[in-house]
């Protein structure tokens, strides 16, 4: 990081020149992708996942991505849900990602809620809990990106598929919206998008990742509760979490779907 005063002086001297310098520094040597009209201008944005803009093949070859959610860090602010809604403009009442609030009282009763999927944040405390609270935490939910995805298995037309780099995606031009994948997903991350009338779900922001940006929710999380990274990179945080001693688990392991989404500090009460 540049010294702040020096940076400020430079900015003050010539703003335009500063931006040009940023641009040159960050895109030099990397591939400029063709962005369809209406997209954000990617040119000035530095890569968040180094090397991704050099990946031009149909599949990501150099990296093996994993998603880790640290529920000991999540503060339930709902930034992730807001970013997701902004990115995909999913109609109200459907959720690509959401945040659940768990409250466990000293009688071991579990209270869970997720008003509007946590999109509006948690502004009010729960007032309907009769006993002292023993434990309370937030659990963000998103696509588990299973290694053995039941949605891909059941899709009758091959509209939902798994890429060789492990992403489960939906072909919006072939989906008939039969809803079988919605039924088959053990995690209820799928829905029929009322706007496109096709199945829809979290993609871990595949389009952003392929252009070197972090998933929208990871990018906005103020407390790094959502982590996305490359398991081939042994210095990455996700590698360290998954390969060094940590309390890490997946949701519904008995479903046999082998999720690539891992949770740090997952409690047994969470489904």
């Amino acid at each position: 990081m540049m010294d702040m005063d020096a940076l400020q002086q430079e900015i003050n001297r010539d703003r335009r020149a500063f931006i040009k310098k940023v641009l040159r520094g960050t895109i030099a040597g990397s591939l400029l992708l063709v962005i369809p009209a209406g997209a954000m201008d990617l040119a000035g944005v530095p890569e968040q996942i180094p090397g991704m803009r050099d990946e031009t093949g149909p599949f990501i070859t150099g990296k093996k991505f994993a998603f880790v959610v640290d529920i000991t860090r999540c503060i339930g602010c709902g930034s992730c849900c807001v970013a997701d809604r902004n990115e995909y403009q999913v109609p109200e009442g459907n959720y690509r990602t959401w945040v659940e609030r768990y409250i466990i009282d000293d009688h071991d009763n579990v209270y869970v809620d997720s008003p509007n999927g946590g999109l509006d944040g948690y502004q009010e405390p729960r007032t309907d809990i009769p006993y002292p609270v023993r434990d309370t935490f937030f659990v963000p939910k998103l696509c588990n990106m299973c290694e053995k995805p039941s949605c891909v298995q059941v899709c009758p037309v091959g509209a939902t598929f798994q890429t060789e780099d492990g992403f489960v995606l939906i072909d919006q031009k072939r989906c008939v919206a039969c809803g079988y994948c919605v039924q088959a997903c053990p995690y209820s991350v799928r829905f029929i998008n009322p706007k496109t009338k096709t199945a829809d779900k979290c993609t871990w922001c595949y389009h952003r990742v392929r252009k070197g940006l972090l998933p929208a929710c990871v990018n906005v999380c103020p407390v790094q509760a959502r982590k996305f990274g490359d398991l081939n990179d042994h210095e990455s945080e996700v590698y360290k979490i998954l390969h060094l001693p940590h309390v890490v688990s997946v949701l519904k392991p008995d479903m046999g779907n082998k999720p690539s989404l891992h949770y740090v500090g997952l409690r047994r009460e969470v489904v």
């Binding site: 869970v112 899709c155 009758p156 008939v176 919206a177 039924q183 995690y187 209820s188 096709t198």
Partner: protein, 401 residues
């Protein structure tokens, strides 16, 4: 724990549902789809009892049940097409059926079964159609020419060939009818994420309930049509049908209860979910309606009708009532499986609700229209294929209607 606290805790424990589970994706349409295919499979089994297993008493309805099956088969895709978000892409199912999907086989199984059923009808009806063609003129003559495949050959040699073809078609028709409907059961039974659906017994239960609904549909419609056209009802035939209906219903009901009992006895975490569902939002439609009223009562009624020697009018009336109740039972069973299974959220902590609207796209009025369609098609088919025959030799001499 005070009662108020207890109630508050119980509510909190059963309240959370995943935000995407609020909406029930498989609507009334997906209740009708297995109902209609079940009736098709069941009606075909009735005709096979005569054509393959030579139950002579069923001869009066052996042809009618095939036409009945065809009328319902023609409508089986209607609820599906109305349900799809992109019905114009429906043929993707035939174009690129996924080998791993339980649903992908539908297009081909449905088409193959449709072809077999149509072929069987054409071969069985051929002598009748040849005779009708001679009497008909204009459009109907052209239609009969097509339906008889342009052949008027009714020589003993040709009829012997027909008999062989019919035996073959009826023979492969039985496993195909079973496949068509057992497979519909598997579409549900193979969904591991849904504890109400995920059971290997699901195809068996669907198949047995299909036979039951088909036989009941045949009995009820046969009695009603004969009554309204002022023709006598063949009582031997009806009594035999009622015995078969009772037999299949014993199996069906026992398997339904066995499935539930196994779940309850093993009492895995799935059972705790199911119990909340069956004693919660499904209590009325499952315990009271499906089991209490529309299973137990017709169960004993059918036993009484089968075992006690009763007057014809008694058998005719109460047999029809029992058949109607069985038809309702199977519809309720489809509802409780399809809708009930979706009410419980995959959070296993709460249930949503589903009340179909009258006028919405997949609501009650469209459902009624879809259920009336097979009857209209049956009427149209009856103008082409005479539904009744008194004797094989007299075929062709009967007039239409």
């Amino acid at each position: 724990m005070s009662p108020e606290h207890g109630a508050a805790v119980a509510e909190a424990l059963t309240r959370y549902i995943f935000p995407n589970d609020l909406h029930v994706h498989w609507s009334l349409m997906i209740v009708l789809y297995p109902y209609i295919t079940g009736i098709v499979a069941g009606a075909f089994i009735v005709s096979s009892l005569y054509h393959v297993f030579h139950i002579r008493a069923l001869k009066p309805i052996s042809r009618y049940s095939l036409i009945f099956a065809l009328a319902f088969l023609a409508c089986a895709t209607m609820p599906l097409l109305n349900h799809l978000g992109h019905p114009e892409r429906a043929l993707n199912m035939m174009l690129t059926p996924s080998p791993t999907s339980a649903m992908a086989g539908f297009g081909y199984i449905y088409s193959a079964y449709g072809i077999v059923l149509l072929m069987e009808i054409l071969f069985i009806y051929r002598p009748t159609l040849v005779a009708l063609k001679e009497k008909a003129g204009g459009f109907m003559r052209g239609l009969y020419t097509i339906l008889t495949m342009g052949s008027d050959n009714l020589s003993p040699r040709a009829l012997a060939l027909d008999r062989k073809v019919i035996a073959f078609l009826a023979g492969i028709g039985i496993p195909m009818a079973c496949t068509l409907h057992g497979y519909v059961g598997f579409i549900f039974g193979g969904v591991k994420a849904n504890p109400l659906w995920a059971t290997p017994l699901m195809p068996v239960i669907f198949l047995l309930s299909a036979c039951v609904s088909g036989i009941a549909g045949i009995i009820l419609s046969y009695v009603l049509i004969r009554k309204f056209t002022g023709k006598p009802v063949d009582m031997e035939c009806i009594r035999t049908c009622i015995k078969f209906l009772w037999g299949f219903f014993i199996l069906d009901f026992v398997f339904e209860m066995l499935e539930l009992f196994s779940h309850a006895y093993m009492a895995t975490h799935h059972w705790h979910t199911l119990r909340e569902l069956l004693w919660g939002p499904l209590f009325g439609s499952y315990w009271i309606a499906q089991v209490g009223i529309f299973s137990v009562i017709p169960f004993f009624m059918l036993g009484w009708l089968s075992l006690v020697r009763l007057r014809d009018t008694t058998v005719r009336f109460w047999g029809s009532v029992a058949s109607f109740m069985i038809l309702v039972q199977v519809l309720l069973m489809r509802w409780n499986v399809v809708i009930g299974g979706q009410l419980m959220s995959k959070s296993e902590r709460g249930a949503t609700y589903y009340h179909p609207g009258w006028f919405e796209k997949e609501g009650i009025i469209p459902s009624i229209i879809i259920m009336i369609m097979p009857l209209i098609i049956l009427y149209i088919l009856s103008r082409i294929f005479p539904l009744w025959q008194t004797d094989e030799a007299a075929a062709g001499e009967e007039t239409l209607g």
